[in-house]
Subunit: 263 residues, 4 copies
């Protein structure tokens, strides 16, 4: 653990990174240091006393990229230190999110408006692709999803593509849109997985990282929303955005899409 | 001019098409006839008395695909007949739109809530691409636009791409985003047109019709929004949508994007 | 049947179209009329005496877009009339092709060097995409195929994509290349059809016609070969090319790729 | 400099890397070590006596990723040591290549058949994209090139895109193909650079590395050849291929495309 003790200025948000010695944590530290208006005040590693370190460093926001087994404890510890929290670690359940919401409510009752943003994906291109696909889905007769990843990935389709398919399907159901037309009689194994009525295709190709393409079609027209994640550095603009937003957004927010201003 | 005189039912919208003998008009007639809940009650051609025909046919909505020199007169004539209007003809100015708004206000004062939707583009994929590009623009360091058309097109870049570039530029200015980085020192002629600070590239290729691609980039990630218009039939879902919406949307609405439900 | 009797000139190839009243036949007639150096001398329809009409018209090349049940008979009749033949009709077998080769050999023995080109696909973009994919296949660790069609197509994957997959697989086997890596453990239904060891994905989307994409990947790089067939008019440059080539290419040639000069 | 002295076996090619301490050199060393049938026997750095080190190490092939000012001297030194050479360094001229050809001829006269492969680009996807574009160019009415790079690139269009445009233009001239049709009357600045009659567009976008897209169009169809270089590691399959090929390819070969088997 390292901390600096410069006094906070109104223009600067003081940020602590939890899991600072992990891959995402190191990248986050670098991103915080490079971002205008953010100051890295603590690198918290496994074994550190989170509440004590954050309090000593005067951290206003804690960013958690640790481990599913540790993240909930870390969030409560950060709230105890009076810090807002941005969480990129996975493994959250309705129950664990509920306990965080309760904790936030207690702090609010004490007069301290803290915010927590939990996001499974901080990639702006991935999050926006999903949002736009859901917005567009009701206006097209057909929609299919293709996700493309490196060939070392063990599961298919990807969690992001599955999430997109469900969002698309929900939007179409809500608007009363019929299922995508499909006259296929033979060769179903080429037609991809059926995820909530939406066909999802998984490509595995050496050289790729993580990519998603949503195709929407009407008579005579097509809309394609494509996103490419080339590098884990791509999560950093989303993390920095969440840090800037969380200080003004009390309570629990789940999903980066709910932080974005798409007005 | 032909008209049918079936009595309107609550479940059906009675539609007249102005310019029914033109290319877009014929396509519109076919689309109205094919659409659930719409009934084509009049095909109005040049020389017909618009108000009289619409009144006789009991048209609730008039769709105008005529000519820039005729469209404003047609809209006022349709409002005189008590019909809502959907306009796909170009050539509108602030002044002509203002006169329609005034007319609508007078009818509202008389107790008749009529709506007019004027849209330069009814292609859902094109409209949504522009909307999504503007929504996403503030979240990416770089943005460029590529439009691709058949090689018989005389102007570059396309009106749609120019519109998108302005929308993207405005969104970035409003959010205080810096211009896209660009270290180009030589070869500027390859870097496309500068439209409001956004680089726009025009491709002309036999076989293509009308296509637009908006590329947005951050460190390690890319978002691409692509739309293809293969055929003028692609405007029809947007026209049908506007017909359904205009009956419940009093006053003047400009741009199909303002009719869409992107909540 | 119609025929014109202008004397052939050295600069012009006299062409008869068999199946001139079908969709492909009509398009072919228009393409022949529009092509430099080709002259349409006969439109042959069902019931016409092919040999007699071709002989009367002085046709040098017959183009057959008829029906699988008629095409072999037509080819023999055209050869009897001393015409070269370009065949776009499907349904050929090793046996029927063998009988045409035998017929060509007999005519050659008689001192008449005639050529026949049978091609299942005259789309240059589709044919070249398949050729390039096969050429590139041995140089990449991974390869997958995505085909995209309108949703009224009953079979999947498309014949073209299946053909491409086999060509790619054969090229890799010949070069001793290992199968594409794939760590998939769950969700195989999203991974497409296994065609000769190559994953093939079929997308069905309203607005599309016929499209194919071959993705090839190595560490740090990707090659994508994409072809779009928007319209049956796209077959015409290939048909015109085959007409020009067949007069100088005695014997039987199967596949447009074997007519192309890719030196 | 480090060298190993294991005796060469018939199944293994003994490789020395010149410029082993540079970025490309280090990547090459790793690739050689990882490749079946290749053995890294020397890492040669600036100041080392190239001939002596290669001779001592028993190197059969030298790979040069040094500097334009050093590369020609290195090649002659390697030939003096009896090694074949693969060169990825730029800066070669007709004159310097001529001197290498002369040197190779002298060694051949002495009974030693050595090979040198000089390639400005070892990226297989980039090289193949250029080859395929040139092969296809004569068969399409229209062709344009889009290159996309990171925004820190100072020159436009890229050398690779310029090379592709010239190859495409030469192929079309040789086949007597007319220039791509273009009815543009206004807005030429959006139409890209004119490189030998081919329009080339340069996109600069954060997140991208080096990408090229060649679009070819006929009535009703499109062929798109796209290549992505995500990482300098992408050069390694091409380097390894050249090492394997050079031992059986006496004389001077310029361009990786001339090493590929595209039969």
């Amino acid at each position: 653990m390292t901390s600096t003790t410069t006094a906070p200025t109104s223009a600067t948000i003081r940020v602590a990174v939890l899991g600072a010695d992990g891959r995402m944590g190191r990248t986050t530290c670098a991103a915080v240091e490079a971002a205008d208006g953010l100051e890295l005040v603590a690198r918290v590693e496994q074994g550190d006393d989170v509440t004590a370190v954050l309090a000593a460093a005067g951290a206003q926001v804690a960013v958690d990229f640790t481990h599913p087994s540790a993240t909930e404890t870390n969030v409560h510890a950060a709230l105890d230190a009076g810090a807002h929290v941005v969480v990129g670690t996975t493994g959250w359940t309705d129950e664990s999110r509920g306990r965080v919401a309760d904790h936030l409510a207690r702090r609010a009752d004490e007069g301290l408006d803290l915010g927590v943003i939990i996001a499974p994906n901080f990639g702006l291109s991935a999050v926006l692709a999903g949002v736009f696909a859901a917005q567009a889905a009701r206006y097209f007769e057909s929609v299919e999803v293709i996700e493309l990843h490196h060939p070392d990935k063990a599961d298919a389709p990807s969690g992001t593509a599955t999430h997109t398919a469900h969002a698309v399907a929900a939007a179409r159901r809500a608007a009363g849109v019929a299922p995508s037309p499909d006259a296929t009689e033979s060769g179903w194994e080429a037609r991809g997985a059926d995820v909530d009525g939406v066909r999802v295709h998984a490509v595995r190709l050496r050289g790729l990282v993580a990519h998603e393409e949503i195709l929407l079609g009407n008579v005579g027209e097509q809309l394609v929303i494509r996103q490419d994640s080339f590098d884990r550095a791509s999560f950093m603009p989303g993390v920095v955005l969440a840090v800037r937003e969380v200080v003004g957004r009390p309570g629990l927010t789940v999903g980066l899409e709910n932080v974005l201003d798409l007005g």
